[in-house]
Amino acid sequence: MDMLDLKELGVRGVNSVLHDLSKSRAKSYQINNPMGQHSIACGLDATMQVKIEGHVGFYCGGMNQHAEIKVNGHAGVGLAENMMSGRIHVSGNASESAGATAHGGLLVIEGDASSRCGISMKGVDIVVGGSVGHMSAFMAQSGCLVICGDAGDALGDSIYEAIIFVRGKVASLGADCIEKEMRPEHQTKLKELLEASSLQADSTEFRRYGSARTLYNFDVDNADAY
């Protein structure tokens, strides 16, 4: 494993090493002294393991493809934003907008995620060991958001085809988000995600939420409102 000292190299220096796709590059890296800096390990585009020892700032792991990133600490705003594939795992809590607009891969947050977790998610799977804040899965289009704790207000507001699993309490559901039947295929998917995330939770204790699909099309009965 190659060691990268962020204090010495700076964010651009560290990311340049991670972006080097030459054959001689290492397969795994450890980043020390992240000091809450932004955009650490962004734009990775190769199969590699990156371990970050400490707390990271905004946009960590953004646009990730293929790489497996582990953050031993807290993650700031916009964690794994627009991730395409791979895996990002955070041992602590995450600030707002974790997994925003992400298209694929698996994002695991062992602690709590703040507001807007999974906002406009487009295919990523997100597993949160703790609770999520308000407006989570806002306009979520595809993928699964698993919440082992509680969900804040307006969960799944204006949701499309994403699936939300919640074990704890839901403060309130957003517009067009409803509770749905947990069928066997959902149980299977949830078990797979919990297993993949290494978080301990009983899949039978979860409820499923999704779109009522009433906001999909223009309704002529509402014409007078415009």
């Binding site: 809450g36 932004h38 707390h55 600490g73 807290h74 809590n93 709590d112 507001s115 308000h134 804040g152």
Partner: protein, 299 residues
């Protein structure tokens, strides 16, 4: 934009290091606010019957000694002053309202930037590092500090428009965001006898809290009422003589992060400001929730 930072020491043994712990926090937020910076430090509480007033003058050559002599003669009071750059900390046994009224009449160009028992406020245009050094805060000791780095978006880059805003009673407030009902609140508070020095929205929030606390509310009660009455986007960090608080509006879209260890509690717009503190690696770190009041120090 703008950056806000706050540090409250739980471990009294660290008080001698307050200024040196706080310095990298403020400087780290320079990129969020390079135009001006300000800090409030709570230290050296004055004795019962005395008031500490922080004053500033745009002219660094201003003769504070003359003001001191004239004020002592006019109000027949005891005075002590200490001058730091273009600021002056004045301690007196005269009534606070009399001193302020005398200053407004006789020295209208002198800005009254803070008052209370412990609070001292220093703010100036320029990069945060320069401002911090100019006020000799690196070796300062005290109990808690609050700071602000400003990127001016809606009003001019002036010292008067710099945070923190202190409106008396040891209270000071720094703010990231913008308020939408500050004009009506300012009118209401003016009717209650509160005087304003600027058109700034943040000063209104500070004045509102001061008014509540002067009316007998605790810091927590003042903030609870503030959530109901103050409209807009905000993350506030607030200091009182003994207290330290953080509160965000119900939408909570202005960044904030908090960290706590056995030794200290810190808040900042971004975690990188807190990362410099000793023990931050093991701190409990979380994003403060909307409409939730976090208070330390005050019962």
């Amino acid at each position: 934009m703008c950056g806000i930072v706050g540090l409250y020491l739980k471990n009294v043994e660290l008080q001698a290091q307050l200024g040196s712990m706080f310095k990298p926090m403020l400087i780290e937020m320079s990129s969020r606010g390079p135009d001006s910076a300000g800090v409030a430090i709570y230290r050296n509480p004055v004795e019962a019957g005395q008031t500490k007033i922080s004053l500033a003058h745009d002219d660094s050559g201003f003769l504070w000694e003359t003001l001191e002599t004239n004020l002592a003669a006019s109000l027949n009071c005891e005075l002590a002053t200490s001058k730091v750059a273009n600021h002056c900390i004045l301690v007196t046994d005269a009534a606070e309202t009399e001193v302020i009224s005398w200053l407004q009449t006789n020295y209208p160009e002198v800005r009254i930037v803070g008052s209370g028992k412990s609070i001292e406020i220093f703010k100036e245009v320029g990069p945060p590092e320069k401002v911090y050094e100019q006020f000799e805060l690196e070796h300062a000791s005290g109990t808690h500090m609050i700071g602000h780095t400003r990127m001016a978006t809606e009003s001019a880059v002036t010292t008067a428009g710099s945070h923190p805003f202190a409106t008396g009673a040891d209270l000071c407030l720094v703010h990231n965001g913008s308020l939408s009902n500050h004009n009506i609140l300012r009118n209401n508070l003016e009717r209650e006898g509160i005087k304003f020095q600027t058109e700034n929205d943040t000063e209104v929030a500070g004045a509102y809290m001061t008014w509540k606390i002067r009316s007998g509310a605790t810091l927590r009660q003042a903030l609870e009422d503030g959530i109901k009455e103050i409209d807009g986007f905000y993350t506030f960090c607030i200091g009182t003589q003994d207290g330290f608080a953080v509160v965000r509006d119900p939408i909570a879209c202005k960044h904030a992060v908090m960290a706590e260890t056995d030794d200290w509690v810190a808040m900042a717009t971004e975690f990188r400001a807190i990362a410099h503190l000793p023990g931050s690696e093991q701190a409990r770190i979380w994003e403060p929730e909307p409409s939730t009041i976090y208070v330390w120090g005050e019962q």
